[in-house]
């Protein structure tokens, strides 16, 4: 009767119990409570703060809990220019996050190095951490950041989470090898 594959519910049959797939439940919970870790390095951090404010309100998605501790967060939003000197710190913070974790490269500098084609700037944070969503813009508007986070939510909803529940999550590969 119902078109949903995630759950099929008829109150006359099941009563007050909804039966669903484990993946659907786990992904629903994970995608609706992504706690970002703001790696706010430069101007994009201002737009990230604006998105957390009341006009654009990232709290609609459950993401207002910006934990600055990597141990307590799900998603690292790299907002700003990563210099080679700072690359060690970004990678170390990423390593300290607990699985499952995702990375969003916000803005041109985090995606590809941006306007800084330079000896001092890492040409894209995907050289050191595996990135899930790239958001373009310099800086991206708060609506663009929210769109990117919604794409991340769609990506999380498509994951096969229950298969990996009692195993170690496979380390994800970097986008490309520098050497």
């Amino acid at each position: 009767m119902s078109k949903h594959t995630d759950y099929n519910y008829d109150s006359k049959i099941e009563g007050e119990v909804i039966v669903s797939r484990a993946d659907a439940v786990i992904n629903w919970v994970r995608s609706h409570s992504v706690w970002p870790m703001p790696m706010g390095l430069a101007c994009c951090a201002i737009e990230l703060m604006a998105t957390g404010g009341s006009r654009f309100d990232i709290s609609r998605f459950g993401m207002e809990v910006m934990r600055f501790s990597p141990r307590q967060s799900d998603c690292m939003i790299v907002a700003g220019t990563v210099t080679y000197k700072m690359a060690e710190v970004v990678r170390r913070i990423y390593d300290q996050m607990a699985e499952p974790k995702w990375v969003v490269a916000m803005g041109a500098c985090a995606s590809t190095g941006g306007m800084y084609r330079s000896y001092a700037v890492l040409q894209g944070v995907d050289r050191i951490v595996p990135v899930d969503v790239y958001i373009s813009g310099c800086p991206p508007r708060p609506e663009a950041l929210l769109d990117g986070m919604m794409k991340l939510q769609e990506k999380i909803r498509g994951e096969r989470s229950s298969g990996g529940l009692f195993q170690e999550r496979k380390t994800r590969q970097l986008a490309y090898k520098s050497s």
Binding site: Y84, A87, E88, Y116, R117, Y119, A120
Partner: protein, 211 residues
């Protein structure tokens, strides 16, 4: 004002497009800057930077920009550095504490050591970086070298690579419409820009308003 030239005979007028500028020999520099700060009212040190002349000797010149907040006047003081291979210059941190990071940046980019600086180390590049990036022989995109952190290199295999220049430095032409004044690369062979051929750009296509 030329009363500075009259008072300090070791100063020479320097060519400048915007405001007063003087050349000063390095041994008289500290006394001059202190006098400018205390007697003439130039209380704000706006910038400390350097110029690399590459083929000339002395090779490096350190430039100070001073501003007087009460009289709203700027002055620029340029002084050559002693030594072409390992240039040195006295530090003005004792006069203006804000010069600390400016001198660190000048050291990082040119290799000019400031005598008397409390903490002279690199500021943008990391401590073991082998080159001075704003010297004229350093290429715009940079050199290839290992990342400063061995731990990150081991975990990611990443390296410091020359940045992709995509056809060379981007220049913005000075004249034309906004579209023509956008920054363009010297070599645009990688783009999809199609410039009009000469025969196409001639007459506009005739338009028929009757139908």
């Amino acid at each position: 004002m030329t009363d500075l030239l009259a008072r300090y005979d070791f100063l020479q007028l320097r060519e400048s497009l915007d405001h007063l500028a003087y050349n000063c020999p390095p041994d008289r520099l500290m006394a001059l800057l202190q006098a400018l700060r205390d007697e003439h009212g130039y209380d704000l040190l706006s910038d400390v930077t350097a110029i690399d002349h590459f083929e000339a000797s002395p090779r490096y010149e350190v430039v100070y920009h001073l501003f007087s907040t009460e009289q709203h006047k700027w002055v620029r003081i340029a002084t050559p550095c002693a030594g072409d291979e390992e240039p040195v210059c006295p530090s003005v941190v004792s006069l203006w504490p804000g010069a600390n990071w400016h001198e660190r940046e000048t050291y990082d980019m040119f290799g000019i050591r400031f005598e008397g600086h409390p903490d002279l180390r690199r500021i943008l590049m990391w401590d073991g970086y082998p080159w001075y990036p704003l010297r004229k022989e350093f290429p715009l995109a940079g050199h290839e070298v290992e990342l400063p952190s061995a731990e990150t290199t081991e975990r990611t295999g990443a390296k410091v690579l020359p940045a992709p220049m995509m056809g060379g430095p981007f220049h913005a032409p000075q004249r034309g419409t906004m579209r023509k004044r956008e920054p363009r690369a010297d070599d645009e062979s990688w783009t999809e820009i199609r410039h009009k051929r000469p025969d196409e750009a001639q007459a506009p296509k005739p338009r028929d308003f009757n139908t």
